[in-house]
Subunit: 413 residues, 2 copies
């Protein structure tokens, strides 16, 4: 590493530490903090706030109160150490795995917003992430499934089916890790062997609710646990709504399964609709109080779309995907060189986990002999790996690097 | 009766007979027949068709085939006699109880219509009616509740509640008399003591289905049985769809409770929406095949409105009522002369049936003494009658006449 490279690495470490410290010092989503970071950079913004230079009286008071509890840089450094032991990492907009679609939060304006949680909806400064999957990759093809904690058996059934069906079609299922609909959606995705992401409103060392601990462990193994809050932070009530803007903005669209009147889940939907994401709603019996929020949304929000299953959801998020400009990529990738059969074989591998050559051949519609030959070729190209008697996609970092030309955006560390 | 009056009465009897004969000779809703009647009058149109002068080849063939079964004037005369014995009457657009809103069928154009039942949607030529209520009065404040025959317990529950709630708020509940949702809506209305109207697709002497015979008898006692088809006519399959345009056009709005994909009930909704009536849909569990048609409508028809109960329905039909010009009335009515207490007492009487003076007083919020005094006054004005130990509204014909100044529209015969 030469001097310039070392300086760059140090600057990024400093930026990361400052973003963590800023998130601790003020709540995520605070617009004035976000603007300071944009103007001065995170370290200078932190120094300014710490010296009592916040541009607003209210923010100054918040900062002053928080400073009595500790020094933000010390707290941040301690949290980063703790996260290391926890197997969690911090990511910032400098990282390749940062979901750029979060920038759409800039255009989030909720009509009639007066509460702090409805007006302070700036993009996150950083995320704590646990799990092997790069966050941006998981979120690129993702759908949020949200709803009531006190779900009915009907809602649990529908959310599980949606989670299963979406993950089975290789869409990541994003939710909030709560009891009821959230847990059902995560479980459905896990049961299909797909990717699921729990976006939490507290530290990753104490995922809330405790009753879902086993679920969180399963999610961390094959999917992702994500939070804006550093380890140790508690799931305070307003944080759920602050968190919901991330669920709405990071995904291609949100589906509401069950919700009582004016529940937090309907707020996620209003956030999704307000930034132009598809807001989808599963109706239910009009005799069920747990569908009142769903029906309210369908009546009050002209953009809300009634969906009854996975096919309808894919219709909505698929269309948006087609309408959006394709994500920026390096000009040439190894996969561009593949012949049709090799491409088919590559597409026949599961997004996570291992598949036997026989199963790959059956999926690709080629003979086992051809499948094995193409798998060897793909292995040479570093696109697949042999593991547990079958084949799997190459490790994400390798594939991430394959997507990035020298001089392109930085790969995750 | 002077000569001119007698000639007028005879002309109207002749018109009535011709309309009945035309409906027998061709199916209701046929546009070319409707236009002939408008241009020539019903008797001349009938003569023209009988003489093989139908303007279209297809209609000529239909008429020729039907003529082999009998003479239309003879069949019509026989049917009128039969109807008399049955306690049914025939009404035509000349009658005061003709629902003028049926004229809105002129603007019914179903997109992509190709089947005969979707294109031949002309207003009816006549109705057979059984029941004491004037049809126009019942329909002026009416809502259609339609849905699946193979309804689930959920659908039956919701339709019964809607029927009850609407009738309880003095809206007539209109449906098709079928098993399932239709019957539940009628029953709900009957249970609240309100008015319900069954619009049938066959002769009133053989209301279909037989299994609802007891229900039809109850409806005829306190509400109305209505049909475009003469006594003796069978409920042929296409007739249900021909009939549905009447349910859609005669009411202020239609509510669909349960329907499988592309059911007849969804066709009623599309007809209602096509002429600008509120088309309301009750959602259900997405796991129920009996709600597929409801959810399809909500997804495909931009005008379809999700409703979850009576309050939502009243919001829709109430708004339309307020948007529409008020019905034409004579400039002064006896009720204009009433003082506030008398008006309250009058409003406290049930739309049908008898109420005791005590109950009237309680509803009106006046003492029993004042209630009795005002009831006497109202009786003198012919607005209420004493009956079965209580008071009832005056007979509809009297109230009809009271609504009409000399020189105004003709009163029912």
């Amino acid at each position: 590493m030469n001097v310039a490279e070392r300086a760059g690495t140090e600057a990024r470490a400093e930026d990361r530490l400052a973003r963590v410290a800023l998130t601790w010092l003020t709540e995520p989503g605070t617009w004035s903090v976000h603007r300071l970071v944009e103007r001065l950079g995170a370290p200078a913004a932190l120094a300014l706030l710490r010296d009592g230079g916040a541009p607003e009286e209210k923010l100054r008071a918040t900062v002053a109160a928080r400073l009595t509890a500790g020094d933000p840089r010390v707290e941040a450094a301690r949290a980063l150490e703790r996260a290391d032991r926890l197997g969690a990492r911090v990511i910032t907009p400098d990282d390749a795995e940062w979901p750029i679609q979060l920038e759409d939060l800039r255009r989030l304006a909720l009509s009639g917003a007066s509460r702090r949680v409805d007006t302070e909806t700036a993009p996150p400064l950083c995320f704590w992430v646990r799990g092997a999957w790069p966050l941006a990759e998981a979120m690129e093809r993702s759908v949020a499934v949200v709803g009531a904690r006190a779900a009915t058996p009907y809602g649990v059934h529908v959310a599980t089916e949606l989670g299963y069906g979406l993950a089975d079609r290789e869409w990541a299922v994003v939710s909030g890790g709560a009891f009821g609909i959230d847990a059902a959606a995560h479980r459905g995705a896990l049961n299909s062997g797909g990717v699921t992401v729990a976006v939490l409103a507290c530290g990753l060392d104490r995922p809330y609710p405790m009753g879902n601990t086993a679920l969180f462990d399963r999610i961390a193994e094959t999917g992702l646990l994500v939070s804006e809050w550093m380890p140790g932070e508690a799931p305070l009530r307003p944080r759920f709504l602050i968190r919901n803007r991330v669920i709405a903005a990071a995904t291609r669209g949100s589906v509401l399964v069950e919700a009582s009147a004016r529940s937090g889940a309907t707020q996620t939907m209003r956030r999704a609709l307000a930034i132009g994401r598809p807001g989808m709603v599963v109706p239910g019996p009009v005799t069920s109080v747990m569908s009142v929020g769903a029906h309210e949304l369908l009546r009050d929000e002209p953009g809300a779309r009634l969906v009854t299953g996975v096919a309808h959801v894919l219709e909505e998020v698929g269309r948006i995907g087609a309408d959006l400009a394709p994500p920026t990529r390096g000009p040439r990738r190894p996969t561009d060189e593949l012949d049709d059969e090799a491409a088919l074989v590559l597409e026949s591998l599961p997004r996570r986990g291992v598949r036997s050559p026989d199963a790959v051949a059956a999926r690709a519609g080629v003979s086992v002999r051809i499948a094995l030959r193409k798998l060897s070729l793909l292995e040479e190209l570093g696109l697949v790996v042999r593991r547990d008697g079958g084949y799997a996609l190459g490790p994400p970092s390798d594939r991430g690097a394959a997507d990035t030309e020298p001089g392109g955006p930085a790969a995750p560390e």
